[in-house]
């Protein structure tokens, strides 16, 4: 039993916070009220006006196990999530072996069950080995609970293959998530084509390389009657493409935006800083602003980090050789608070809707709230404290983030899941 007193309670439905004590018993919120008395044996935490909200859920993470455990394991990735106030994640299938069959899904879920303190879900490949040729073992993966099919890391290159997969798997109530880029236009380098790519002397990847596939994959879903989810949108035109399809209303399309695409631009790469290298790449200030507006307007259904750990050695190579991606789970919530909530750009309600509720709805999961009877799946957030993202603070095995050693406003102070306190600061 846990009694949390004096919390300011946030929800996805209102920007206003309510005040109260919250009693947790048998992994559920038993009661909410003023001046609740603690039952015998209950642990008491004084929230001291910190903000209580449902814990976050990240629908786009790379946990690297099996195959690349030096970068991240399922256990370390889960700890990184907890550290950032996140109690559920969806893994991408670009591990080694790739997650493209019931065998590998079973292995991953088994490791997760044994080593992770939060539920870890996994997507499955659209095609075997993510090679874009033969369909993966779709039914076997579905039987183990896989909902999302994606060749993330790459686009499913052949539209005919993707269309057939959509026609086939939509019948099973599965959905497709697309990493969007035309490889012939994007090249192997994750760098926006623009003034910065010219300055650095590296051929850039134009935004149209992404926008073309965003449109292509929604059109395919439209033709197949499938649900398509567009991953990590980085460009204004890409977002407008999604908005246009949503306005038609005749195809089920959802989309996500990553914090780094709201916060950083290509110029931040400076002198070849690989902590700003990811795919799709950082673009321009105008894109940042458009994407933020898209998040506020609901073009983006959810926020997801694309948490992509790489070892310090890998990231210390020259810009072209260094792998794509940055970590995000440790830093996402605090950075979103620091840059957007503390500055009044949007409220807690939007954050909870887009980073806690909607991703769970997309995955067909129960959505926790701070109401009586809801499962206990919540965090306390301190808006007064600061967080410094040192190597020691972050729980991911890798530290490839622009926030390394930066100090931001806000702190995730408590994470409760079921009967357990997963984190207390």
């Amino acid at each position: 039993m846990l009694l949390i007193q004096n919390a300011r309670i946030a929800s996805e439905h209102s920007a206003d916070l309510t005040h109260g004590d919250v009693l947790i018993e048998d992994a559920k919120i038993k009661s909410i009220g003023q001046g609740l008395s603690a039952p015998t044996g209950a642990k008491i935490i004084d929230a001291k006006n910190r903000i209580m909200m449902p814990a976050m859920f990240d629908a786009h993470v790379h946990f690297r196990e099996p195959g690349f455990e030096a970068k991240e394991t399922i256990a370390s990735g889960a700890e990184s999530a907890i550290n950032g106030g996140i109690t559920g994640v969806v893994m991408m299938p670009n591990t080694n072996p790739t997650i493209d069959s019931a065998t590998v899904v079973g292995q991953v879920l088994d490791i997760a069950k044994r080593t992770a303190r939060i539920p870890v879900y996994t997507s499955g490949c659209v095609t075997k080995g993510r090679h874009g040729k033969e369909l993966a073992g779709i039914d076997g993966m579905r039987n183990l609970g896989v909902k999302m099919l994606t060749d993330d890391g790459d686009t499913t290159g052949d539209p005919a293959v993707l269309l057939r997969a959509m026609q086939y798997a939509s019948e099973f109530d599965m959905f497709f998530a697309s990493h969007c880029e035309v490889p012939e236009l994007a090249g192997p380098r994750a760098l926006n084509e623009g003034v910065t790519s010219y300055r650095l002397g590296i051929k850039g990847s134009p935004a149209c390389a992404e926008e073309i596939i965003i449109d292509r994959d929604i059109r395919l879903a439209h033709a197949a009657g499938a649900h398509i989810h567009i991953q990590h949108v980085s460009s204004k035109l890409g977002m407008e493409t999604i908005a246009w399809w949503k306005s038609r209303g005749d195809v089920k399309v959802t989309a996500e935006v990553a914090p780094h695409h709201l916060l950083f631009i290509d110029e931040d790469i400076g002198d070849y800083d690989t902590h700003y290298k990811m795919n799709p790449p950082l673009r321009t200030k105008a894109d940042n602003e458009a994407l933020l507006q898209g998040l506020i307007d609901g073009v983006f259904d959810l926020i997801a980090t694309d948490h992509a750990p790489h070892t310090p050695f890998e990231k210390s190579q020259d810009f072209v050789s260094a792998p794509n991606g940055i970590t995000g789970l440790d830093t996402a919530l605090v950075s979103l608070y620091h840059h957007f909530i503390a500055t009044g750009k949007f409220g807690w309600d939007l954050l909870i809707k887009r980073y806690s509720a909607e991703p769970r709805r997309m995955m067909g999961l129960e959505v926790p709230t701070i109401t009586e009877g809801s499962p206990a799946d919540l965090i306390l957030f301190d808006t007064e404290k600061e967080t410094t993202f040192t190597k020691e603070f972050m729980k991911s095995k890798s530290q490839n983030t622009p926030f390394l050693d930066k100090t931001l406003k806000g702190s995730v102070d408590l994470v409760v899941l079921g009967d357990e306190i997963l984190l207390e600061r």
Binding site: Y198, G201, I202, Q317, D318, S321
Partner: protein, 307 residues
């Protein structure tokens, strides 16, 4: 503050550029003497780390270092285990253990010399990295132009060719802008980026570019080897649209313009044979000045200082 590395032109201020160009002049005078050597870098070691083939730049640096009495070692990249970026770090750690004073590096990866500079106490000189920078080429170009125009402010340099892939275009235009010259680019639309530097005019038509009245025509080597895909239909078409043939050379002669080229030239592509004998061609002077400028750079850098 002493400078450890020379990685690009952007990080050099006007004063430091002037200092380097001033230092190059007395070194150039040495070349006319019977003994061309000075003991400035006696006992220092210079290591040549060339991951890309190069004859001119490599020899130029080697001659420059030897005329300063330094010991020069060639790190035989072609016959070593080095094949890709991952092993650069180990190589540099090895060189660090050898206590090399200067590392002169050429690599196809843009930015790699900067990565190396962070890993070593040795002075790192960028001898060309990808399409990023070629600072000693820029210095020698500036030196060559200043010999012809002691006050080059406002003079116009038209750079013709593959701007997109050219580290020479980037570094040379940067230094020329810093010295107060005007620069314009001319080339096929697919090789002259629309989102290049804002203060550089962009032409895709030769005659339009000549109306801009340049003082110097700077031809770039058409680097077929760097074009992973096709950027123009054929060499013949390139030469017709952007090359300097006999007719265009006559016009250039009438206008009294200088011609420069970083070498090696592709005869029949960016220029015709006659350009090589043109009295205002500065191509051979660029080669000579390259040694003087590289001596000045080696003399100027301070190994072991903070980068």
């Amino acid at each position: 503050m002493p400078r450890k590395d020379l990685l690009d032109i952007s990080s050099l201020g006007r004063e430091e550029i002037d200092l380097l160009l001033d230092q190059a002049a007395p070194f150039k005078e040495l070349f006319t003497r019977s003994v061309k050597k000075v003991p400035a870098l006696k006992g220092k070691s210079v290591l040549m780390l060339f991951y890309e083939p190069s004859t001119r730049t490599h020899s130029s640096f080697e001659v420059a270092a030897k005329r300063l009495s330094a010991d020069v070692t060639n790190f035989d990249v072609a016959h070593s285990s080095i094949t890709k970026g991952e092993s650069v770090r180990e190589t540099v750690e090895t060189l660090q253990a050898m206590r090399t004073d200067y590392i002169i590096v050429r690599h196809k990866a843009s930015g790699l010399p900067g990565t190396i500079a962070k890993l070593t106490k040795a002075s790192v000189i960028n001898a060309g990295d990808g399409a990023h920078a070629h600072p000693t080429q820029a210095l020698l170009d500036a030196f060559t132009i200043k010999e012809k125009f002691p006050d080059p402010t406002g003079k116009k340099v038209l750079i013709i060719g593959d701007i997109l892939h050219s580290r020479v275009a980037r570094s040379t235009s940067t230094i020329l802008k810093k010295l107060g010259l005007q620069v314009a680019y001319l080339g096929p639309g697919s090789l002259v980026p629309k989102n290049g530097p804002e203060n550089i005019q962009r032409f895709t038509n030769y005659d339009e570019a000549m109306k801009w009245s340049p003082d110097v025509v700077y031809l770039l080597r058409v680097q077929m080897e760097r074009q992973d895909v096709q950027y123009f239909p054929s060499i013949r078409e390139y030469h017709k649209l952007y090359g300097v043939g006999d007719k265009r050379l006559a016009d250039i002669r009438d206008r009294g313009l200088y011609i420069m080229h970083p070498g090696p030239v592709n005869r029949g592509v960016e220029l015709c044979d006659a350009v090589m004998d043109y009295e205002r061609s500065l191509i051979n002077e660029q080669v000579e000045n390259g040694i003087a400028v590289r001596m000045a750079v080696l003399y100027h850098l301070k190994p072991g200082s903070e980068s």
